[in-house]
Symmetry: D2
Subunit: 367 residues, 4 copies
């Protein structure tokens, strides 16, 4: 109800403020007997942590997750799996510049009005630091999904007005290798270079820029998604829109599809092997989901991130007392969030898939 | 869990197949003492019902909602408010063309694999007929919201490649009058004419086309939305994406905002009356929501609808037995759904707002 | 949240007031492909309906359930199964004796304060008439459970100070035959006669009396129940306590067990066939549940019902205006509810078991 | 769904095994601006911790709770409040006596069948150690409730066949003082002495014994409880039955009430001050709840605890391999749980009341 949980069956609850003692997550509903590899969880967190490259924030935080419960001798036990990520740099800093002023396009004002109290240190709960807990939980979800062969891949497909060409390969191992070979995490090397140069220039100008991430999910069984309100793409949309700075979501043909006509947009069924259990479609404008239920084709979606609100320039704002004043970004912030957000998108997608895979189990009861 | 409920506090559960006995909805959690005007509910349903004009389906169905419970002497009692909409035309028709074939870009195949059984008559539960129940519930939600002055307005802002200009007026009464004066429900008269001509041509060609709907919500109090997963825009996204045929959602600056830079995108606070409780922003790229919480500005979002899948042309498909075959749309279908979908968008927006308004009540407990 | 739903996976939502248009229920999450026999549903409702015998209320209501959705060609489809039970006798009666007075030990006063409005006709939503919807849903749950061989049996084990001896037979067919052969629904014929005579005398005196119902559930697989809060017996307790007039619940050894010592109370494991998958216990003080999870033994529990509050005698009370006044029961009421409540207990037990059986499916995901 | 959360609005999720790294709890939905006194939380935990007296287990564990999030400058912020209680004594012990054997009337067997894996160390998740997290959360709930004047008091009213007389005083401060002056936590000094002597004798005999706890809740506003399934007493029942070893629950007149007649059981309304908002009843067989909603009178209920299953005597059992074997309790266990369980009962009652108090807020929306 208060909004810090996600999922029905594979359900996570996160906690923690950016400058409190620690952040963390409880996974309730993780099936038992899943192999847990802490090295893998850490490698996922490393893709999100600050200080990775010149185009991310220069803050240093190791983001080490510690498992507190729910794992015994390397396997999940079916009991709640709790993970803790201590905040390393929580000493009292000078927050006077944000304590009494509302930063533009931040959550300072809305939190203060809603709750009547605000942990202003580094944004508190509204800080994107919270997403580290999602990444840790997403790593567990991925471990579960890998048992079914399900693979998730996201990459930066757009920065500002720069747009990467459509993916040529659909081999996730290959795509991941390209993506991880450049600091902007774009699976097209030429575009990656262009994006990096652009972000670097933006950063030097004390400004920030938005971007877009494209995702594909492969080997999803037919049948995931619960009509009518919990359609698979509706839950993916909510998951993605809940990530800080996301302003748009589309799946399959998306907004462009709304300009098309039915005769060109319909995905015709085909069946090379005459096996009714494994239909395919000639095109995939449906993005792998029909009637809210996965149809076995690749699931595809795209998300739009607004530019980071903290810029290194003076901006007009209002103080808590209602006086007009100025504010300038301090500290070390990302000029563009998408390179680090790629792994957050994957984590949220994994959580949605794990949840729906488990929900779909119940239909086997009567078989 | 099985996906037929929406909302946490103001919670609806819908039921019914397109060609069963009836469809309907239970609202649980509607506050007591709300005035219920059945005429208003019916007028909302009339905006969604088939047979309105030459650019909608020619099916005739009166879609009359009957209140079964939860209202006493014209007011809600706080107990479940159930509404029933009988299916008038439920006699056994010839469905052989869809009983044993999977219609392209429909839910036939996915439902059959998921459930192992399918009520093929008119699409059954996957039919957009289900949305009539949402409209009835949305009318009750609007009645509740009107007590707080909250107004919701949606209109058709795009059909195919035709795009309406941005709204000039923000007066919802005026906009509604324009919208209801044309059959495509676009608040710009010139664009409306263009859209109508285009849809009519598409219809005559036996084809269909997609479109876009833009929505504004006014007079929303500051504080609605539950961080971190149940952000107000995340719940709006899920609500809209759960509507049949919706493939994309964006709020505020949306996808276009992801091309912008922070220095131009940030919404600077202003305070003409020096009243800290009523801040405004100079721009509204945030779409009325910051950190997942309403900030008192107009909430704006846009949704994209794919073209209707049923076209009056022969298309290749696969039968249940796995044989390649052909299928041609029969009966009376919409060439474009957006004119009738406007009221569904408004209904879902009303349900999200009512739910979050009630959730936000709990924070008053400690005041 | 507003309390009219029960269950997580196999989830029911009921609606309707005693003197409104109709009552009814939606089951969301019923698995597909379950055979639905409307005759069976009706036979269950017949065991609850008024006017069965001289020791129940003499009101006449046929309580006919109509299925509106979710069933196709005799089988569930996995979509919401809605059932409607019209209220036959809903004409405006003279309710002046309860409109402005609070009946003692009824819900009149608490509903009025909570909601600020009250549908006083026949108790409205607080009437036990609501339980007919539970019985209809319970019949569907039983149909599902029967596929797993699970059997539920309840009978009247106590009326006033009269207590039936422990059951001799554990053959549910045999027990049901005895129970249904007498109007008080006690599986011990001699005690049944005593109870009937006592209730009849109470009725003639214009008074009412409480009673107790004992339940056994057989052939429950090992593993149902979700620690730590949703223990199987905790959910059974909530289910039973939610039935009108229930004031107490105990399972296994219950209150008597709290007087025992561990050395006599522990249920020792035994294994006649040396088959670790099918352990048994020598005693069953655990009532078939250990650590909140079914252990494969018979599940046993007992519920206590207070005497019906409406008596045919004048009682002091307070009017809505705060004046001291008198009230006397009118109409036709049960002198003792337990004979009709037996089937409500069974229905709620079936709903709990169906829900937990489906929940337990998720653990198979990783196997 | 997986059972480790409790409450809808004021919602807790607990985690941790008895011999893992730590146990803990997240409270999501705690209203902002509640004063948090860590000393009070610790004093509550001290009432539950082992090693208090000669009649509790002699294990030593300090049970120190650390707040990780959700509190800023001594007040709650409305964000998740996480608390961690490290397990101090988690080194590898010799658990061979329970690793491969199923302890009678414990959860070893059912956990192993349900999950296919079991953290056997000290009972893992099924250990009553989990209830420390509930006590910590309950302390926060009490802090919230104290703003409304709501007081909760529980004490040991029965041990074995020893039963305390009904409470003479209803002054909770006075009752608490008496209760805390004796190690069995009974508010009747004479009975307390009898109980202590009996438990001590039981302990010396290597045996255990069950008991009963009675609870009163004062100053509850009229209107808490959500008909029809989430009746206030139904949620109290579930809360109490979810506590380890509880086998029975009754409220108000309880099982004894089921032997009474309506004419003696009905609670007649009275109104000394002619103030319709503040009715009272002459008797309180309803236990402060009518129609599932609090009526402003004292809420009363009673819970029954079975004897502790671990006894210091050899008992027959079955090994994981299905062989008949013997097992004898090792280590330091409680001869009777009720003295330590008093505070767990209070904590669960506080959680139920806090949740329902917040739920009831939503009805104010339309006022």
């Amino acid at each position: 109800m208060a909004g810090n949980s996600f999922g029905d069956v594979f359900r996570i609850t996160t906690f923690g403020e950016s400058h409190g003692e620690a952040i963390g997550v409880i996974i309730d509903g993780c099936p038992p007997n899943i192999d847990i590899d802490e090295t893998f969880i850490q490698s996922e967190l490393d893709k999100r942590r600050p200080g990775q490259s010149k185009i991310t924030t220069q803050r240093k935080e190791s983001d080490t997750a510690k498992i507190l419960s729910g794992v015994f001798e390397g396997k999940t036990t079916g009991t709640p799996l709790a993970m803790l990520i201590p905040n390393e740099d929580q000493r009292s800093k000078d927050y006077s510049h944000i304590k009494d002023k509302y930063r533009p396009s931040h959550a300072d004002y809305t939190y203060e009005v809603k709750y009547g109290i605000r942990d202003y240190r580094g944004g508190g709960r509204s800080s994107a630091r919270e997403t580290a807990a999602r990444v840790a939980a997403g790593a567990v979800a991925k471990s579960f999904l890998s048992q079914f062969g399900i693979r998730i891949f996201a990459h930066v497909s757009g920065v500002g007005k720069i747009e990467a060409p459509n993916l040529v390969s659909h081999d996730i191992d290959e795509l991941t290798q390209i993506r991880e070979s450049n600091i902007v995490r774009c699976a097209d090397p030429a575009t990656a270079n262009e994006m990096i140069a652009f972000i670097d220039a933006i950063r030097k100008a004390g400004d920030t820029v938005g971007g877009r991430i494209s995702t594909v999910i492969q080997h999803v069984p037919v049948g995931l998604g619960e009509p009518v309100f919990d359609k698979l793409h509706a839950d993916l949309a909510k998951a993605m829109m809940s990530i800080n700075a996301v302003h748009g979501f589309e799946y399959g043909s998306g907004f462009a599809g709304s300009e098309m006509q039915g005769s060109e947009h319909n995905d015709l069924f085909t069946n090379p092997e005459n096996d009714a259990e494994k239909l395919k479609t000639l095109t995939n404008f449906s993005g792998g989901i029909q009637g809210g239920i996965s149809n076995g084709m690749e699931i595809t979606f795209r998300t739009a991130f607004k530019p980071v609100a903290t810029i290194m320039r003076a901006q007009q704002t209002i103080s808590r007392e209602g006086e007009t004043t100025e504010i300038t970004g301090k500290g070390r912030h990302d000029p563009c969030v998408v390179p680090r957000a790629v792994i957050i998108i994957e984590a949220m997608a994994a959580l949605v898939l794990a949840d729906h895979l488990l929900k779909n189990q119940i239909y086997d009861a009567a078989r």
